[in-house]
């Protein structure tokens, strides 16, 4: 049984060192995002319209949050994921079950973001139709250049031993 050790439990809530987003929040990436989902909302690019609303100016689509944290594919930056650090024995498979965003403030063009991450929850062992394992929640907190939290991104992962062996 892949029980949770005290060492693994001690990781819960431990915030990582901050990491800088590779690009400042910028209108070029925002317009590619809007094209992708055919989002015509002028609040993301029309300064006059945006200034007339309660949101007081343009901003990037809030749902882009996690994209600002994506690492460049070149040059490659080696890193160790939180799940690798957690090192759940006998649980070789991971699937994402849920992704949860919270949006505290609009991401303004020019904002430079930093991210910290943590494991926020490790569930007791559960058996689903996939196999036996643990639901683990990871949380990434995004802050702007003034240190204000602008949003959070949580993943609920199921880290498990597949039914019928480790190689399913």
């Amino acid at each position: 049984m892949p029980a949770i050790t005290d060492e693994q439990r001690s990781l819960i809530g431990q915030e990582s060192e901050p990491r800088q987003a590779p690009q400042a929040v910028n209108p070029a990436m925002a317009s590619h995002w809007c094209e992708m989902v055919e989002d015509p909302n002028p609040i993301h690019h029309d300064e006059e319209y945006a200034a007339s609303t309660w949101l007081e100016g343009t901003f990037a689509p809030p749902t882009m949050l996690f994209t600002w944290a994506m690492r460049p594919v070149w040059p490659e930056q080696p890193f160790k994921t939180l799940v690798a650090k957690l090192d759940l024995k006998d649980c070789p498979s991971t699937i994402a079950v849920k992704a949860i965003h919270t949006y505290e403030k609009p991401l303004r063009y020019g904002d430079t973001l930093t991210m910290t991450n943590q494991i926020s929850e490790i569930g007791e062992e559960k058996t689903t139709r996939l196999g036996s394992g643990h639901f683990v929640t990871t949380k990434e907190t995004f802050r702007n250049q003034d240190g204000e939290v602008v949003g959070t991104h949580s993943f609920v992962l199921f880290i498990y031993r597949p039914m019928g062996g480790n190689d399913a």
């Binding site: 590619h32 809007c34 989902v37 989002d39 002028p42 994402a96």
Partner: protein, 136 residues
């Protein structure tokens, strides 16, 4: 475009064809180069039925739906995406939903909505959103 929202209000369907071009836009737009999202052979070998769209794309589509349903000055406060099935290249993705609850806070409405994304394969994605909508 502001209006009073109430429980049970219908959020009508919005669809996007999941074309090859859109998958290219999604890879570049979300900066996600994991091969299951652009390499058919890799995707099949990893157990999928083909190239499928990533979670960030689904979040973006939900964001577009928020603007279309609640107005250009609606601001999402929380978005929960539950992955239940894959959204494959070649299908058409549709989101639709209903308003579950409305609270008033600081003169704005906070609307909780439940939505589902589906393709020809059936429902693939559960969506729960809280949206801040300014009052008139």
């Amino acid at each position: 475009m502001s209006r009073e929202w109430k429980e049970g209000d219908v959020l009508p369907p919005i669809s996007l064809p999941l074309t090859l071009r859109r998958s290219v836009q999604a890879v570049a737009g979300t900066r996600d180069y994991y091969p299951v999202h652009h390499d058919e052979k890799f995707a099949r070998e990893s157990g999928a039925q083909g190239i499928f769209f990533n979670t960030m794309f689904l979040q973006g589509f939900a964001g577009r739906a928020v603007s279309e349903w609640f107005g250009n000055d609606a601001f999402p406060r929380k978005l929960e995406i539950a992955m239940r099935g894959s959204n494959y290249l070649g299908k058409t993705l549709t989101i639709e939903g209903t308003v579950e609850a409305v609270r008033v806070s600081g003169g704005h409405q906070l609307v909780d909505a439940d939505a589902t994304m589906s393709t020809e394969d059936g429902p693939t994605t559960g969506v729960k959103i809280t949206i801040e909508v300014p009052s008139q």
